[in-house]
Symmetry: C2
C-alpha cells in the first residue's frame, strides 16, 4: 500500500520529487525527460524545476538521448555519478554474493564467496565486505539489503530450519545497525523483484513460488509481497496441501515443502539430504531424469505433481492472475509438465477452470533475490523521509 500522503505544499513538492525519481528508477533510467513529463502528467515547467533540483542535489544526472525523432533533443535523466548507491547481498545456503546498485537498477557485482553454512562462517565475512564498501565512496551508500533463505522476524532475527539457524541476529553478526541493513526473505524479495522488473509488472494479484532446497511462496499484491520484505508471511510451503502427515523440520506436519524441492528429490531416492548440501546433486538428478533414467524421472514426476496440486490449492484460495516460478521450479515445470498440469487442473475449483492463471518461469532467474534486496532498500530511500536524510547528510 503505497499510502502516499500530502497535506501541505511542501509535502506536495516532496511527493512529486519522489514520483519522478521512482519513475526514473522503475524504467531503468531509459525514459527521456519529455516522456517522463507526459507520463507523470506534469507541466513542462514543473518538470524543469523538479529535475533541476534533483540534479543540484546530486540525485540525478542528465545524459543526451541516443535517438530522437524530431524537434529539440531531450535528455535522459539517470543516476548521478556521485549519487546514491545501494548494497545488495544474496545469502544462499552455501555461498553469498554482494553487489552495488545505482538508481535505475544497474548492478555491479563486488564479491562472491562460499561459506560453511554456520551463522558466523557466513555472516562475518559478508559483514566485513559490506562495512568496507559502506564508507568508501564518501556518503554515497544509503543502505544495504540482504536476502536470506528463511523467515525474518522483526529486528532481523532469522530462522533457517534446514541449516539449524535459530533466531540468528543477522544485523548484529554483520556488525551493522538494524534499519540501515534490511534483512528479507529470499522468496519474498524475489517476488518483489519480479513485480518491479520481471513478469509481474502491472499485475495486481500474483503468486510467486521459489523452489530451492525448500519451497517458499508469497502473494504479490499491487507490487508488494505480502508480509513486507521480511517475509514472515512467505511460508506457503508449510501448509499441508498434499495430504501427507509426516513431521517437518519446521515443527508442523504434512507440509507441502516436504514434497517439493531439492530435499524432496533426494529424499524420494533415499539419498542423504539437508544441511544445505546437495544442490549440485539435485541438478544432476534433474539431468538424469531428462536422460530418461526411471528412478530419477519418478522422483521428478512426484515433485511436479505435488507442486501442481499445491498451486491449485493456492489458486483456489487467492485467485491470482499469474503464477511465477523461480529456483528449481522452472526445471520441474519443464521436465514433467504433464504431471504438473494434470495435478494443477484436478485441484482447481470449477469456477477457476474457465480461466486458470498462467504458470510461467520467472524472468529474472537466480538474480531475483538480489534484485529484490536492492528494491527493498530503494523502496525505503525513494520516500520523502529517505530523501530528506540524503539531503541532511550532504549539507
Amino acid at each position: 500500500m503505497s499510502g502516499n500522503m500530502a497535506t501541505t505544499s511542501g509535502e506536495l513538492r516532496a511527493h512529486n520529487r519522489v514520483r519522478l525519481l521512482r519513475a526514473v528508477h522503475d524504467c531503468g533510467a531509459t525514459l527521456t525527460r519529455s516522456r517522463l513529463t507526459r507520463g507523470l502528467d506534469l507541466a513542462r515547467g514543473t518538470a524543469s524545476v523538479l529535475v533541476g533540483g534533483l540534479v543540484e542535489d546530486e540525485l540525478l544526472h542528465e545524459k543526451p538521448a541516443p535517438e530522437h525523432p524530431r524537434g529539440r533533443p531531450t535528455l535522459v535523466p539517470g543516476p548521478h555519478p556521485r549519487g546514491p548507491l545501494v548494497l545488495a547481498a544474496d545469502l544462499r545456503e552455501d555461498a553469498w554474493e554482494l553487489a552495488a546498485c545505482e538508481l535505475g537498477g544497474r548492478v555491479t557485482v563486488l564479491a562472491e564467496q562460499d561459506h560453511d553454512g554456520t551463522p558466523e562462517g557466513a555472516l562475518l565475512p559478508l559483514g566485513a565486505a559490506i562495512r568496507a564498501q559502506r564508507g568508501s565512496p564518501r556518503g554515497r551508500v544509503v543502505g544495504a539489503g540482504v536476502a536470506v533463505a528463511g523467515p525474518v522476524r522483526a529486528g532481523g532475527l532469522v530462522d533457517v530450519p534446514h541449516l539449524r539457524w535459530r533466531s540468528v541476529n543477522v544485523p548484529e553478526l554483520l556488525g551493522l545497525p538494524d534499519g540501515w541493513v534490511r534483512v528479507g526473505n529470499d522468496t519474498a524479495l524475489a517476488g518483489l523483484a519480479e513485480a518491479r522488473r520481471g513478469l509481474l509488472r502491472g499485475v495486481q494479484v500474483a503468486l510467486h513460488l521459489h523452489v530451492d532446497f525448500d519451497l517458499g511462496g508469497v502473494l504479490v499484491v499491487g507490487g508488494h509481497p505480502l508480509g513486507g520484505a521480511s517475509g514472515m508471511g512467505a511460508e506457503f510451503g508449510h501448509m499441508p496441501l498434499t495430504g501427507g502427515s509426516e513431521p517437518c523440520m519446521c515443527g508442523a506436519h504434512g507440509c507441502w515443502a516436504l514434497e517439493v524441492g531439492a530435499n524432496a528429490l533426494l529424499r524420494h531416492l533415499g539419498l542423504a539430504y539437508g544441511g544445505g548440501r546437495g544442490r549440485d546433486q539435485a541438478r544432476l538428478l534433474l539431468a538424469r531424469a531428462a536422460a530418461g533414467e526411471e528412478a530419477a524421472s519418478a522422483a521428478v514426476t512426484a515433485n511436479s505433481r505435488a507442486l501442481g496440486r499445491g498451486i491449485a490449492a493456492l489458486v483456489n484460495a487467492h485467485d491470482p492472475e499469474v503464477v511465477t516460478l523461480s529456483g528449481l521450479a522452472p526445471d520441474l515445470h519443464d521436465r514433467a509438465a504433464p504431471a504438473l498440469s494434470r495435478a494443477f487442473e484436478d485441484g482447481l475449483m470449477t469456477i477457476r477452470r474457465d480461466r486458470p492463471p498462467r504458470i510461467i518461469p520467472s524472468a529474472l532467474g537466480r538474480r531475483g533475490s538480489l534484485l529484490g534486496a536492492m528494491e527493498s532498500v530503494f523502496d525505503a530511500f525513494l520516500t520523502p523521509e529517505g530523501l530528506a536524510t540524503w539531503l541532511s547528510v550532504r549539507s
Copy 2:
C-alpha cells in the same frame, strides 16, 4: 490500496476534503472538529475552510458537542440531513435484509424478507426494494452494496455452489447498473467491516473466517480484504488443509470447507444437508452438544478440530496478528475450545509458537456483511472522484 496521489494544488484540496470526510465516517461522527483538526494535523484555519466547504456542499452538518471541558465550545461534524445515503443489502441463503446508511455508519433497516433460494426469487424482490429507495430522497442515494454468499467475478457474476447458482448476473437481475450496485462476497465484506469498525481496526495483517453453511476466509491487509470486495480471493475454505480427499461441490477435492460449518455438522450425523436449508437444525445441534449429548458433541468436536488445524496452516503461511471468527465459528470456539486449541497448536510451525495470534470472535456478529457492503460503497464514494460526481449531480 489507498494509493492517494496529489500532484496539483487542486488535488491537494480534494485529498484533504476526503481525509476529513473519511475521518468523520470512520469515527462514527463522534469526534469534535477540534479533535479532527489535531488528528489530521491540519491548521485551524485550514480545517475551518474545509469544513465550511463540505457543509456548503451538503456533505457535512455540524451539531453542538454534548460536552466540552473548557474554552469555546466546539462542534461535531456529522452527516448532513440532505447528505449522501448508501444502500446496503445482505443476501443470505434463505433471506435478505436491506438498510440505508448515512455518513458515519448509522444504519436504518428498511426491509427484511425470506426467499426461496432461487436467483429470481431472491433478487427480483430485492431489486424492486432497492429501486424504490433509489430515487425517493432526491439524489441522495449514491450507491448500493450487496453481500452474497459466494465468489463474485468481474461484472457481478456470482456462483453459490450449494444453492446451485452458476454465473448468476446479480446486477442484471436486480435491474440496476453494474458499478452503481457493488456486489461482494459476504466473508470478504465481513472482514472489511471488521477492519473498519470491529476488532481489526489498526491491525496490519489479519485473518477473518466466516463459518455458515460453508466456510469462507479472507486475509485483511492494511484495512483491505484481499481480492477486493468481490472476494474471488476469499476462498480459503477450498484448500485441502485437513488431509481429506472427498470430492467437494466446488469441483476440487478434500476441501477444508467439507469439514467445517453447518453442512459438515449435519453430514457428520448422517442428516440431510445442502440447499441452504438447515441453519436452525445446525443451531439446534450446537445446543444439544452444549447439553451434553454425545453424538452432537462428537460432531462439534470434529468440526472444531478441523477448524483449528486449518487455522494453523493459514497462520503458518500468512503470519497474521489476529484471527477473527464470525458466523458459527464463535460457537465452535466456545463449545469445543480445547479441541480447537490443541489442533491449532499442533499445526503451528515452531517459530510461530512463541507468539501465536489470538483467535477471537468478531465484534459485529451477524451484522458484519451488511456493514461491509456499506463500507465498500463508501470506499468508492469517499474519493476525489466520488465526491466530484456528488457535486456535479447537485449543481
